[in-house]
Amino acid sequence: MKKIGVFVCWCGLNISRTVDIERVIKEVSRHPQVVVSTDYKYLCSEPGQNLIQKYVEENELGGLVVAACSPNMHELTFRSVAQRCGINPYLCEMTNIREQCSWVHDDREEATHKAIDLIIMTVEKVLRSDPLYSSTVPLTKKALVIGAGISGMESALDIANAGYEVSLVDKRPYIGGHMTQLSETFPTLDCAQCILTPKTAEVARHPNIKILPYSEVVEIKGYVGNFEAKIKRKATYVDWDKCTGCGICVEKCPQKTYSEFERGLKERKSIDIPFPQAVPFKVTIDKESCIYLKKNKCGVCAKICPAEAVDFQQQDTIIEEKFGAIVVATGFELLEGDDLAEYGYGKYKDILDGMQFERLNSSSGPTSGKILRPSDGKEPKELVFIQCAGSRDREKGVPYCSRICCMYTAKHARLYKQKVPDGQAYIFYMDIRAGGKGYEEFIYRSVDEGNILYLRGQVSKVFEEDGKLMVWGMDTLSSKKIEIAADMVVLANAMIPSQGSKLLASILKVGTDEHGFFQEAHPKLRPIESLTRGVFLAGCSQSPKDITDTVAQGSAAASKVMAMFSNDTIKVEPVVSLVKKEDCSGCFACEIACPYGAIEHEEYKGRQVAFVNAALCQGCGSCTVACRAGVVDLMGFSNKQILAEVEALLWK
């Protein structure tokens, strides 16, 4: 049996106020395997750590129990102390006598008793702990970035600039994401295209970046450091190597269809380049509306193309490649549909969403930047903006705040006033959330310059009457019901995860939150990592955020990838399941329980047995319970360890 040292921390008064530490160390020292039982004011401090080291050396301790705060706080700290003393880190365990004892109980007697019990439990656990060693696996130093919006591009550029190869995938036929659709950006009113196009150009010509537009990730196998991806390149029906982007085909194409880029404010041709600054500047045929692909007629583009680039026979192709790390940057969409029915959204032409209004404002947009009503082309003089359209609504829309609407609505109203000086903008808002550098100032400059009337309340109904849009709202500050006969209404629709996020999450085997955003490993301390090692999150795929934060997170994800790639191998956590193969019957019930596909089949003495791929295993232990024979065990949380804890707790 190993000799155990127990170290009890006072945490100043935090623990010592409620727990009688003197009594604890005395009681605990009666355990036969405990050779050291001592205390210190702050064990996590430098002298505290040195104290532990001194005792280890003097008493040749084989295991450590640190009774202090939560292991979520300092497990790493004390395990590295153990390592420094030459004790395997997994032979050091913490007993939580702060968060789960001294802070939640008032009675000194009860708290002291509980602390003693908890420490004895941990002692019994450590007595049954085995040393565990991290293993290493080789690593493919190549990154896959999914989504080529501003965060994906930022990520890709950073990784590429560090000298690693990147594949940048986007489902659209161009890179740049939603930012390509924006007119100006808050809080500086920088022209979005002007700050974006240098980046798209840089991405496109970077020797380390391979852009894969009009492509989707369809399968991911493998594990951190060694992902095997299948990427589908959707058929564009145009040979992009030949296409020069001259646009003759676009001009001659007789078929019009819905323009996603213009959000329906203008139609586009079936063969099209979405916008003049698109990268790559190549045409794509929309197979849903193309007359030739539907009815085998027309084909005028093929006849006219000087480069003979049109190829109606083109098929989807699959690329297979290995990557060491993945960055998910799949962005957002706006909430649409029946949830916004009371605002007449989708029913009346002059009720627009924020993105449509961006297009109206854009000098390359459907009205060349003039603010005109889609219904009759007239300039709106009374313009109502409705914030929180679907956001913060737990009944119909989404319960969360979409974070950017307060800012862009102020921007919209200000741009409107610049363009229509005799117009009046009204903004229905509930709270102004302008927590960002220069944001609050921006709001008030907008109020000042745009003469915006902010109305504090929500709108209940919008409908058409006498050629106007009747808005019934409330100003709760004056308690007056407000009726505005508006010429145009702009909704700040809630941001939701982009379509296909759920599917991608299941392909990547990472979690999503209840709204479908990708789930970060820890909301405070690990916001960039997903719950699957080697998969990182950036931008609005994780939660609604503005461009500034999106870019920052893109860079942060890149730095995580780069840190990984700076090593030649990758360390694998030893808290994994282990199969005792001589006793395994090969029923593979564990395989069903494993969410990571970590259970593999192995030949052992002429039969198939289960084998845990340690690189894939995340250490949940679900398989250990699924195993009928109990031959799968989890290292670090083994059956004998947990049972020893249970027994020790109930000793009389």
């Binding site: 968060e99 719950l531 319970v625 949380f637 049972l643 804890e645 109930l650």
Partner: protein
């Protein structure tokens, strides 16, 4: 009264920590064993606890759909349901075992849950196994 709680590391253990940082008080009868996921809780552990005299067992994991390991808590839910039926069949009051879903942000919920378990288990008779002569804790030095 002794109650053994198995808390998953990611949600419920963190929720219990939050109850601590927020100083929500709850009875001291509860002793926590940390497991990576609620699906690591082998029904054997619960039976062992009851056989050794625990008056109640609490198991808590992430909310369904929010499992850190994607699907672990679904297994827990099914296993515990079955387990409770087994307890009933063997004559053990299934009210000794309580399953909760408590997230890392639900400190209040954790404190309330503990109170609830203590109250419910308190209404049951003392676990008869607890009066059976158990193992000796350890030799006094």
């Amino acid at each position: 009264m002794e109650i053994v709680a198995f808390l998953c590391n990611w949600c419920s253990y963190a929720g219990a920590d939050l109850a601590g940082t927020s100083r929500f008080k709850y009875p001291a009868n509860i002793k926590v064993i940390r497991v990576p996921c609620s699906s690591r809780v082998n029904p054997t552990f619960i039976l062992k606890a009851l056989a050794n005299g625990a008056d109640g067992v609490m198991v808590s994991g992430c909310h369904p759909g929010d499992c850190h390991y994607t699907t672990g808590n679904y297994f827990t839910r099914r296993r515990l349901l079955l387990m409770k039926r087994l307890l009933e069949f063997t004559g053990v009051n299934p009210d000794r075992v309580h399953l909760y879903w408590i997230s890392a942000s639900e400190g209040t919920k954790f404190a309330e849950a503990v109170k609830e378990v203590v109250e419910k288990v308190g209404k049951l008779e003392k676990n008869p196994m607890s009066s059976i002569e158990g193992e000796i804790r350890y030799e006094k030095k």
